[in-house]
Symmetry: none
Subunit: 160 residues, 2 copies
């Protein structure tokens, strides 16, 4: 009996459908009585039934077939080491200018201040000034520390 109760409580739509069916049949009966005298009414009646019950079938199928979407989770290896993106937030946070970043980049490539100056077409003193500001912002004392921290923070790309 528990199975039946379970069925009745859980499939409300089915019961409702049953009632609907009963009402529908009564209605059809009434219609039949109304138009049975008219000979041509039979085709219309049959057609109506066909259409209505086709619709009902579709509705039922859609209602009862709940899981229409299937989720598939796929694990993908991400090569973070390949796609390097500079950490712009850190650059902004540390208030590092474009030129300073440029100097930092060349510095990390192992260039001397003189070489950086030549590369950027400025004087050695200019590079020294940039360095001083850079070290201040990065809170370091040496260029090697600056490079280390800059790579850790993602300000400049790793050596690969």
């Amino acid at each position: 009996m528990r199975r039946s109760t379970n069925f009745l409580t859980k499939n409300k739509s089915v019961i409702l459908y049953g009632l609907f069916l009963a009402i529908m049949l009564c209605l059809l009966k009434w219609l039949e009585l109304r138009f049975i005298v008219i000979n041509h009414a039979f085709e219309i009646y049959a057609g109506s039934i066909a259409v209505i019950f086709t619709g009902l079938g579709i509705w039922l199928a859609l209602k009862l077939t709940k899981p229409k979407t299937i989720l598939i989770e796929k694990e993908v290896l991400s090569e973070k080491s390949e796609t390097f993106v500079i950490n712009e937030k850190e650059i902004i946070r540390l208030n590092i200018s474009k030129r300073e970043l440029e100097v930092l980049q060349l510095m990390s490539e192992g260039l001397s201040n003189q070489e950086i100056a030549e590369r950027l077409f400025v004087s050695l003193n200019t590079i020294k000034t940039h360095n001083a500001r850079l070290f201040g912002k990065l809170e370091v004392k040496r260029r090697t520390q600056a490079i280390e921290i800059a790579k850790k923070l993602g300000l400049i790309p790793q050596s690969r």
Copy 2:
């Protein structure tokens, strides 16, 4: 055929409903025969149409509703970036000694020669000697270049 089997096994309630419907119709028929004296051929015909077209509707709905599959790609960090392995072959090829590698490591961490000397309990001059040999073996002129190349060759770990 697999689809049909699937349908039969998974949508038990639909089948039950079908049976319920049949029983209902029989009951109605019986009631009709009992209390109404009319030609019952038409009712059977209408019921048949109803059942057939309900089935047709269900079939149509199931046929047209293809199960949507949503693919979720889940990113997983690759092991490569986590586990660093030193390139021993390169170390042997370049004939770099243990002590030199040690100095190189500390150098890459941004320590000054003086700091490295203190860390290793040796004199500043000793570190300078190690550096000179290191630069010769790595074919570089500055510590920053040494660090750059050493990281590229995998002699020392990356900054992360």
